[in-house]
Amino acid sequence: MRVKRGSVPIILGLLLIAAALCVAVYNVWENRSAARHSEEAVSVLTGQIPEEPSALPLEDEAASGGEVEIPDHILAPDMEMPVLPMDGMDYIGILELPALDLTLPVISEWSYPALKLAPCRFSGSAYQDDMVIAAHNYRTHFSRLSELPEGSRVTFTDTDGNHFDFEVALKETLPPTAVEEMTSGEWDLTLFTCTYDGRYRFTVRCERLTGE
């Protein structure tokens, strides 16, 4: 049987277009799946995290007869961050980026399967002002991180209900090998994700707002 001239490149071209569609469909599905999971996790966490921390403020010492409960993270900032387990993952709290209308759960330890579900703590602790959070550049996670205006508010709420308020201070792009620079602890909170081409890490540095 004689094959028509030009059929081979046409078939190959169609296969490539089909492959492109497959990748796009998979990405959209992954995006939606991450969005759905994050939404569910935030909903469950919001129900479990107390609205206000249970510990008495220090000024109530006299009224309580000396029986003061100092918040754990103030008493021992080097403590492990408390977690709430859900579907085999441990969550350390909720991250809010009002400027992007995002509310996301944060998983205690990062891994590639965990990153597919929600942002993850890459290193540090909110109690020691050196926490670094990584997330995929899904549209519902950190893809719009570059749109965060400097000076905008970022809030992290731990599983005890303690609120930590931050302000975006700096945006920068780092190479994937800049592990030390990323985790140097110079910034109170760091958020990062991959750039579109995956070659660099877009990074947002935040400063803690105190006295609130």
């Binding site: 001239r5 490149p9 046409i10 007869g65 021992a76 977690v83 592990v179 995956g198």
Partner: protein, 343 residues
């Protein structure tokens, strides 16, 4: 009250620093035949706290050079004595008090304060061996408040830093926690918390999956709980009777770790420090130098790969690339087909 406690803490810290053998060699050797005594003054300003029982436990023996050698019993609880950090000494005293109460260790000497609030050791014994002592006192009630003597460590004899000599007659004021006695009121229950902290950066793999903590009621084990990552390494006991003394100990200390306890407010903080378990008798292993083999052109092993930040990007770039390549191929195929028709 907090101001007073800070003032008292500063005094005790200063006392500890002054009494520790900082300048042992400058003060000369300790005279073994000379007896040491310890006088405790237990007063709330000018109100003496009378008839309060105190015990002293020897933690380490002192050599004539001033070097301290841990007692065999105490070496079950700690592997080494702290340096000159006053907070560490304070935490060590607090930690050891729990263990001596739980294990009912026999004190080196005991006695009660007189009507002036003063007690001098040796009280029941004839003499005291030179060394490091833990001093503990019992709870007492006065004028609607209860006083809990804070445990502390003291060296006998102590160094007199002004004269740079050994002081064999040591005197110190005992620090205390003073809180209103709520046991007769409606609120007669209290809450106690324990929080575990790990100081083992880089050795987290050696951390046990869980540890057990014992709550002591007047020195007797009242409850034992397991702490783990599952309960965020903490536990709260509610509804405890206020007129008892509540303390905690770590049931057994994990290998490679030392434990240190402290209390702030209602919370006990139990910190486990990683300690390198190095056998000093064993010489370090020396790597033999690598011999160069003539004519060996085998390339050296590549350096370990540089650590990288996680890949957090979705693969979107292949989509336009594949689409463009596919379209190009189709156009190419159509042109060829058209050429065939025309020929």
């Amino acid at each position: 009250m907090r101001k007073y406690q800070k003032y008292a803490a500063a005094l005790l810290s200063l006392l500890l620093i002054l009494l520790m053998p900082v300048q042992v060699f400058a003060a000369g050797p300790i005279e073994a035949e000379k007896e040491a005594e310890l006088t405790l003054v237990y007063c709330d300003d000018d109100i003496p706290l009378t008839n309060v029982d105190f015990n002293i436990y020897q933690i380490a023996a002192a050599a004539s050079s001033g070097e301290l050698i841990l007692n065999e019993t105490c070496s079950d609880y700690i592997s080494e004595l702290p340096t000159h950090d006053a907070e560490q000494w304070k935490a060590l005293a607090f930690t050891l008090e729990g263990y001596v109460l739980r294990d009912k260790l026999k004190p080196a000497d005991s006695g009660s304060t007189d009507r002036e609030g003063v007690l001098t050791f040796p009280a029941e014994k004839e003499s005291l061996e030179h060394g490091l002592y833990l001093v503990t006192g019992s709870r007492c009630w006065r004028n609607g408040c209860y006083y809990d003597a804070q445990p502390f460590l003291i060296m006998l004899p102590a160094i007199d830093t002004e004269k740079n000599v050994w002081d064999y007659a040591v005197e110190c004021r005992v620090k205390f926690d003073k809180l209103p006695d709520v046991s007769g009121d409606e609120v007669n229950h209290i809450t106690r918390k324990v929080l575990k902290v790990w100081q083992d950066e880089g050795h987290e793999d050696l951390r046990p999956a869980s540890i057990e903590v014992q709550l002591l009621c007047d020195g007797e084990v009242y409850d034992t709980v397991a702490l783990s990552a599952g309960n965020s390494w903490r536990h709260t006991w509610r509804g405890l009777e206020a007129d008892h003394v509540w303390k905690i100990v770590e049931k057994s200390i994990p290998g490679n770790y030392d434990v240190s306890a402290s209390k702030e407010g209602i919370t006990f903080v139990l910190t486990n420090y990683f300690t390198e378990d190095i056998d000093e008798d064993e010489p370090p292993l020396e790597q033999p130098p690598e011999e160069e083999i003539p004519g060996d052109d085998t390339p050296a092993a590549p350096p370990p790969s540089e650590p990288q930040l996680p890949q957090t990007g979705q693969l979107w770039w292949p989509v336009p690339a594949l689409l463009a390549a596919g379209l190009l191929l189709i156009v190419f195929g159509l042109i060829r087909r058209r050429g065939e028709h025309e020929s």
